[in-house]
Symmetry: C2
C-alpha cells in the first residue's frame, strides 16, 4: 500500500480520482502496490461526495505525513503550486504535475532538487495532454541528437482553425461556439494568443536540448487575425493553416516560434484536426517521428498524470528524468530566421499593385481566387523575417496599396 | 565505463556501431557511463576495418566475460539468437534486441528470466523500427485499459501500396522496383504476405494485454492480390488501401488480423505513406493516440537499439519491463468477426449481376467508375466473415457472374 495526495480537485484532479477508481486493478498491478489517495487539497469541502473525508485545506498536513510518498499537483498556475511542489520535493516526496506554467518557469530547479533527493519530478501531462511525449523524449529518443521539434500543442486553437477551414466560418463565430461548448475558456487569451503553446514548446525544447529554452524569448503570435478568406487561399495552395509551435537547433543556438503557419497537405501535421495535438520531431539518427492524440481534456490529461504516479511508485529511490540545465540556450535573432510568406493586400488599382509587389518582393507567385477584384494574393520566395518586415512596410507605402490584409508564413 | 557486445554485424549491427560513434558524447552522458563495444559476434572477419580487433566468432567468449553487462542481439531469426539470448540472460546480462521473430516466439519466457534475474530484456526495435512504441506501451499508457491496436507495421508493403495508389501501377511492377531499390527483399514473402506485420502486432498486443497473443492464431493476408483497379475504386470511395494489422480486445477475448483494408481518408492511418509506419492505439481513458515514424532502415532501427542499450545501463539491477504472461489470450473465432466489404465481380450480363448481388447481399452500394461495362463493384453492409464467405460462394455460382475479382474489407 502506498499513499498519495492530490493537490487540486478541479477538472484534472477529479479526472485523476476517476481514473484511479476506474482502472484500479490494472493500475495497482502495474504500480506493484495498491494506491491509496490519502488526501485531496482543495479550498472547497465537497460535502456528501465520496471524497469529503479526504479533503484537506492545509498543505502542511500532507507535507508532514510521512506516509505520503507521491503528490500529484494539478492546481495549475505558478503559485502556490511552486511553493508546494518545492517543499514536497525537499521533503523527499516525488511530485507529478500537469502544470505547464510551473514546469516552463521552474522546471530545471525542480528537476535538480528531485535529482539531488533521488526522487522524481514528472510532468508528462504538462504537454500534449495524454500523448506520451515527455517520457519518449527522456527515455526513448536518447540515441539521437534532436534538432527540430514542431507541434500542434493547443487543442482549442486547433479546434477553431479546423472549424474555420472546414466550414468557412469567421474566427469570432467559431470562438464563441467553442466557448459555449466548453472547448475554449471565457478568457481565451492564453490559448488564442499562443501563450499556452509557447510554454509547451519551451518545455519540450528544454528537455530535448538539455538546456533551458526560456519561453519569454519565444516569438509568439496567435490566431486572432486569421480570416475565413485566408482559409480559402490555403485550400487553393493545397495547404491548411495551423497554429504551429516550433524550435530548431542550429550550431548550438535555437530559434523558436509560435505562429499560424500554412502547412502543406503532405506534412503529417496537416491532418491533425479538431482538438487533437501532435508533436513532430527530427533527430539525426531516427529521422522523423510523430506523436498524436488528444492534447487536453479531463480523462486524457488524467491518464498522463496517473501514468506518472505509477512511474514514480515504480521508481522509488531511482531518479529517472534527464537533467535539464538552468543554463539558457542562446537564441538566433528572429530577424535572421528565414521563411516563405503568403500575403494578401487590398488595392484600388490592380496593375499598379502587381508592379509594386514584384518590384519589392522580386519573384512571387500569384494565387487566383474568386471575387478577387480589389485583392492581390501572392507567396514570396524565402527571405529573412527582417527583410520581410521591411518589404511589407515598403509595400504599404505604395499608392496602389490600400492595406495589407494578411501575412502568414508557409511551412 | 561499461562494456557491451553486439551479436551480428549486418545492417542493424553496423548501424548500432555507427550511432554509438556518431552521438558518442550525448549517449554516454545519458547513459551516465562511457560505453565500450568490447565484442562484435559475426561469422565474418572484416579485416582492415575499425572493428576487426573486436570481432569474435565464439559466443562463449562474450558469455563468459564478466565485464560485458549488456548484449545487443541484432542477428535476426529464431536460432541461434534464442539460445544466445537465453544464455546471456541466465548469466545476468541484460539483452536488447531488434528481432521480432525471437520476441514473438519466446518473448514471455525471456521476459520472465530477465525479471527473475533483476535485469532487462528490451525490444523497442522489434516493432516500428525507430518509433518509440514498446516503451510507451510499457511505461506511458499504464493508466489505461488498452482495447485496440491498429497499425501499419511493415514499411515495404506500405511503400508498394503508396506507389500503386499514387502512380496507378500494378503490384508486380512496383515490387520489382522496390527490390531494385533495396526496399524489398529478393524473397519478399515475409513482407508481402503479411507475416512480418503479424509477428509485430502479436508483440504489441501481448504487451498491451499482458497475456500471450499467439501470432500463429492471427488471420493473415498479404497484398499480392491488390490491383491498380482496386486503388481506383478506393479513390472514388475517398479511401486508401493499407496493409493493416489490428488486434481488438472484447470481453477478455481478442480478434486479430493482418489484411489489406480500404481505410477512410479521415482516419489518421490513411496519411501514413511510403516506408513510414504508424501505430494507432485506443485506451479506455486516453482515447486515441498514434505513433508515427520510419518503421525500418539501418539508422532508425539502430536508434531504437541504442536507446534500449542506454535504458539497460541506466536500469542496472532494476527490471523495468511489464510481465507478459505465457498464458495465451483466447481468440474470438474469425467467423464471428464483422466487417463491411468492397467487392468487384466480372459479369457478362450486368442487369442479372445486379439482381444477384442485391438478392444475396441485401443492401449494397454501387461504385461507379469509367470503363465498367463488364464489371460490377459494390460495398456491403456490416456482416460476419462467415456470412461474407458464404455469400461470395453463392455469388460465384450465379450464371451472370464470371468471377469475383476483388474483395477487400473497409475500415
Amino acid at each position: 500500500m502506498i499513499s498519495i495526495a492530490i493537490l487540486g480537485y478541479g477538472t484534472v484532479g477529479s479526472g485523476v480520482v476517476e481514473v484511479l477508481e476506474k482502472n484500479r486493478d490494472s493500475i495497482n498491478k502495474k504500480a506493484g502496490e495498491d494506491i491509496l489517495i490519502k488526501y485531496i487539497l482543495d479550498l472547497k469541502d465537497f460535502p456528501g461526495t465520496p471524497i469529503e473525508n479526504i479533503i484537506t485545506h492545509n498543505f502542511d498536513v500532507i507535507l508532514n505525513d510521512e506516509d505520503v510518498k507521491v503528490i500529484a499537483e494539478v492546481m495549475g498556475g505558478v503559485e502556490p503550486a511552486y511553493t508546494f511542489v518545492k517543499k514536497a520535493l525537499e521533503k523527499g516526496k516525488s511530485v507529478v504535475t500537469s502544470n505547464k506554467e510551473l514546469v516552463a518557469k521552474h522546471g530545471p530547479e525542480l528537476l535538480s532538487i528531485a535529482k539531488e533527493k533521488n526522487i522524481n519530478f514528472l510532468f508528462e501531462a504538462s504537454v500534449g495532454g495524454g500523448i506520451p511525449i515527455i517520457r519518449p523524449l527522456n527515455q526513448s529518443l536518447t540515441a539521437d541528437e534532436i534538432y527540430e521539434i514542431t507541434g500542434i500543442l493547443n487543442g482549442t486553437t486547433n479546434y477553431i482553425l479546423t472549424k474555420m477551414s472546414k466550414e468557412g466560418l469567421a474566427f469570432d463565430t467559431v470562438l464563441k461556439e467553442a466557448q459555449e461548448k466548453g472547448y475554449a475558456e471565457k478568457n481565451p487569451e492564453a490559448d488564442v494568443e499562443g501563450y499556452d503553446a509557447c510554454r509547451k514548446i519551451a518545455i519540450l525544447a528544454s528537455l530535448a536540448f538539455g538546456m533551458n529554452v526560456d519561453y519569454e524569448n519565444i516569438h509568439t503570435e496567435g490566431i486572432t487575425k486569421i480570416t475565413a478568406r485566408d482559409m480559402e487561399y490555403a485550400k487553393v495552395l493545397n495547404r491548411d493553416i495551423k497554429l504551429i509551435a516550433n524550435c530548431i537547433k542550429e550550431d548550438n543556438k535555437v530559434h523558436a516560434m509560435v505562429a499560424p503557419v500554412m502547412i502543406d497537405s503532405t506534412h503529417p501535421l496537416a491532418h491533425v484536426n479538431d482538438v487533437y495535438n501532435a508533436i513532430f520531431i527530427k533527430g539525426n539518427v531516427i529521422g522523423e517521428v510523430m506523436f498524436y492524440g488528444r492534447g487536453a481534456g479531463k480523462l486524457p490529461t488524467a491518464s498522463a498524470v496517473v501514468a506518472d504516479i505509477i512511474d514514480a511508485i515504480k521508481h522509488k529511490g531511482c531518479n529517472i528524468m534527464s537533467f535539464w540545465s538552468t543554463k539558457s540556450m542562446k537564441f538566433i535573432s528572429m530577424d535572421q530566421v528565414k521563411a516563405k510568406f503568403f500575403v494578401v493586400v487590398k488595392t484600388d488599382f490592380m496593375p499598379a499593385a502587381k508592379d509594386s509587389a514584384e518590384k519589392i518582393f522580386g519573384e512571387i507567385e500569384y494565387i487566383i481566387l474568386d471575387n478577387q477584384e480589389d485583392e492581390l494574393a501572392f507567396t514570396t520566395s524565402e527571405i529573412t523575417e527582417k527583410a520581410f518586415a521591411e518589404k511589407i512596410n515598403l509595400l504599404n507605402e505604395e499608392t496602389s496599396i490600400v492595406s495589407v490584409q494578411s501575412s502568414i508564413r508557409l511551412g
